[in-house]
Amino acid sequence: MKMTKLCVLALAAVFMLSTVALAGTLQDVRAKGFIQAGVNGGVFGFSMPDKKGVWKGLDVDTARAIAAAVFGDASKVKYVALTAVQRLPALQSGEIDVLCRNTTQTLTRDTVNGLNFAHVNFYDGQGFLVPKKLGVKSAKELDGATVCVLPGTTTELNAADFFRSHGMKWKPVVIENTSELNKAFFAGRCDVLTSDSSQLAAQRSVSPNPANYVLLPEIISKEPLAPVVRHGDDQWYDVVNWTVMALIQAEELGITSKNVDQMLKSKDPRIKRFLGVTPGLGKALGLDNKWAYNIVKQVGNYGEIFDRNVGPKTKLGLQRGLNALWTKGGLMYAAPFR
């Protein structure tokens, strides 16, 4: 008897904790009242918990922007920390609604793995970081080097390709945990750390002695990092895609979280449409007309997010580079909001 009751209780608990979702993701997200976002467990500046256990970073802010667009409340996000091997299954199985985990857009992932990549929120490329005292000037001098690299990433394959195509030997040190890997490099476990160059710059700037390390000039790959959603849910894809574009558009229009309230009174028809003063765009996406206003008000525009998390004034001290607006020589370019 007791056993039966226990079983029933256990089953009930399982059902309470399992969620059934069959309608479109947007409806599901609305129904449950929050977005589940898959993030990296610990990359400083992109997604990492702070001292109080609050998630911070560029990828985290992207997820918050989506929540602001859907709910008008950027805090309605639940973060699921994922390892590299877990990220795709987690999205495919519906455990998370969107993956904001510095994931490179590739043809295979877009097709064979059944995913859709939204607008890129960070342009990157793979580089090499070496200690200055090695005296290496080019990646082509790295024959015989020990290289720290994250396993199971495009980075690992790119590195293997690079060394193979130049007929060089190398010894990989692969640790699946980003922070463990970086620690190993700065402690001297490897001669070279290879990763997305923004990460390398970031890691260098926070290392005990930044001046002791140099980035080699070679960039061996393109790494467009973008939020990812499941294939075949166009409405949700649109929401995520246009949220990222809205961040860029806001910067282009000069709307920031501080001046967004004054901008509501702007005469510029583009701003009026964007902020929902002239209604229409929000409805087309299936969102509130104030969606873009909410994003900018609560999270800021792309420039603000960049500066806050990885920009020159942060510990990472990254320059905008490829991630500057197209008007300033970068690649950040939002399609017209009309």
Binding site: N113, T146, P151, L157, F163, P172, G188, R189
Partner: protein, 390 residues
């Protein structure tokens, strides 16, 4: 109730039939559950366009592996990459088991020592090592290794031919020479000969009651034969000393920090358990046994060999085997510190191919093979031990 025949008992009251029905029910439930899961999986795989099958094993892996016992490059197949991983698991498990048994026995004996200090320290060691998760120990030793040791150019050089740095340990080793092959053959021959001598001595003792110094003869054979071969080849003493070439040490033999951290963590953790097993085994042999052996005039060595060890080993071997198996299974934690064992390579494979089901199935299959072969050995041993019993 003489008139009760089998026909009159309703089938639900007949324990035999009821048992069969019950089992059929259970099997149906299990089969249903399996069917439910498999059909779900198949639909999901189809819906999400996830590739299935073992075709990926023959594709080019395109990733490198840090250390390998067989030639491997990123141009090889996934199958070969996985083989490299399996061999690495075998390597670390084998060395780990040998070291844990050695240190565990030492510590177990120390625990029973009449020296208070040694016994207490052994006790503290056992308690501390058993109570800290092995994964934490791996992280700890790995961090200690690369955070405290210097870079290759400032490598510690405690003795000739030995270098310690954060790239690992490099040691001088005999350079390869044709004599080594013959020395190995001589060693194997000596083992066979020793066994033959042992059999012969036993038979002779049973027939004539004459003892024969088997131990010393075997020792002489095992050391003497390879030595003789070595001398016959002109005693080649060429050492291969590690030298700093480019980025790293070349030559000699070297061990990576991942390997050393993994080995250190596994050996410390397991030897604490082995020590307890050994202690319990030795204590299980009553004091009366020693006294009785003394009374019939056996010598100290004979007491140990003929009375204590056979009884203690019967208690020690079964839990010892399960500790060895635990070590092998714990070696799968290598994935956390980046030693390319089987789990680590399979993990990367899953990541690159997206075929998680095949990957995890492979991991389980490989470990099951290890476990089952150990069980087979255990059953064989138990049978032997049972035969000895009277």
């Amino acid at each position: 109730m003489a008139d009760t025949t089998t026909e009159k008992i309703p089938f639900w009251l007949d324990p035999k039939k009821r048992a069969i029905l019950f089992q059929i029910g259970v099997f149906c439930l299990v089969a249903l559950l399996a069917y439910y899961l498999v059909s779900n999986t198949l639909t999901n795989l189809k819906r999400q366009h996830i590739a299935t099958g073992w075709g990926f094993l023959h594709k080019e892996s395109a990733f490198e592996i840090g250390e390998s016992m067989i030639p491997y490059s990123s141009a090889n197949t996934y199958a070969r990459a996985l083989l490299v991983g399996a061999l690495n698991t075998v390597k670390v498990s084998f060395i780990g088991i040998v070291l844990s048994v050695f240190f565990g026995t030492l510590i177990g004996v120390a625990r029973l020592s009449s020296n208070w200090l040694v016994s207490k320290l052994a006790g503290i060691f056992i308690e501390v090592m058993q109570d800290i998760p092995v994964l934490l120990q791996l992280f700890f030793w790995y961090a200690i290794f690369y955070e405290t040791f210097p870079s290759p150019r400032q490598a510690l050089h405690p003795m000739a031919g030995l270098y310690l740095c954060n790239r690992g340990v490099a040691m001088a080793f005999l350079s390869p020479h044709p004599a080594h092959k013959y020395m190995l053959l001589a060693f194997l021959a000596a083992l066979v000969l020793s066994y033959a001598v042992y059999r012969w001595a036993r038979q002779r003792q049973a027939r004539k009651g004459l003892p024969f110094p088997v131990f010393w003869t075997s020792l002489a054979l095992i050391i003497g034969l390879p030595l003789a071969v070595w001398l016959a080849f002109g005693a080649p003493m060429q050492m291969d000393v590690p030298k700093l070439v480019g980025f790293n040490f070349k030559g000699g033999i070297s061990f990576s920090p991942e390997f050393i951290a993994l080995l250190l963590g596994l050996v410390l953790y397991t030897s604490a358990f082995v020590a307890e097993v050994v202690r319990a085994g030795i204590q299980s042999v009553g004091k009366g046994q020693t006294e009785a052996a003394k009374a019939i005039g056996l010598k100290q060595g004979q007491i140990l060999n003929l009375v204590i060890l056979p009884q203690a080993l019967r208690v020690i071997i079964p839990p010892l085997t399960s500790q060895m198996l635990n070590l092998t299974k714990n070696s799968s934690l290598a994935v956390a510190i980046g030693f390319p064992d089987f789990v680590s390579v399979a993990n990367t494979t899953i990541n690159q191919t997206g075929q998680s089901i095949e990957g995890v199935a492979l991991i389980m299959a490989v470990y099951l093979i290890f476990s089952l072969s150990t069980s087979v050995f255990m059953n064989w041993y138990n049978k032997r031990a049972a035969l000895v019993e009277r």
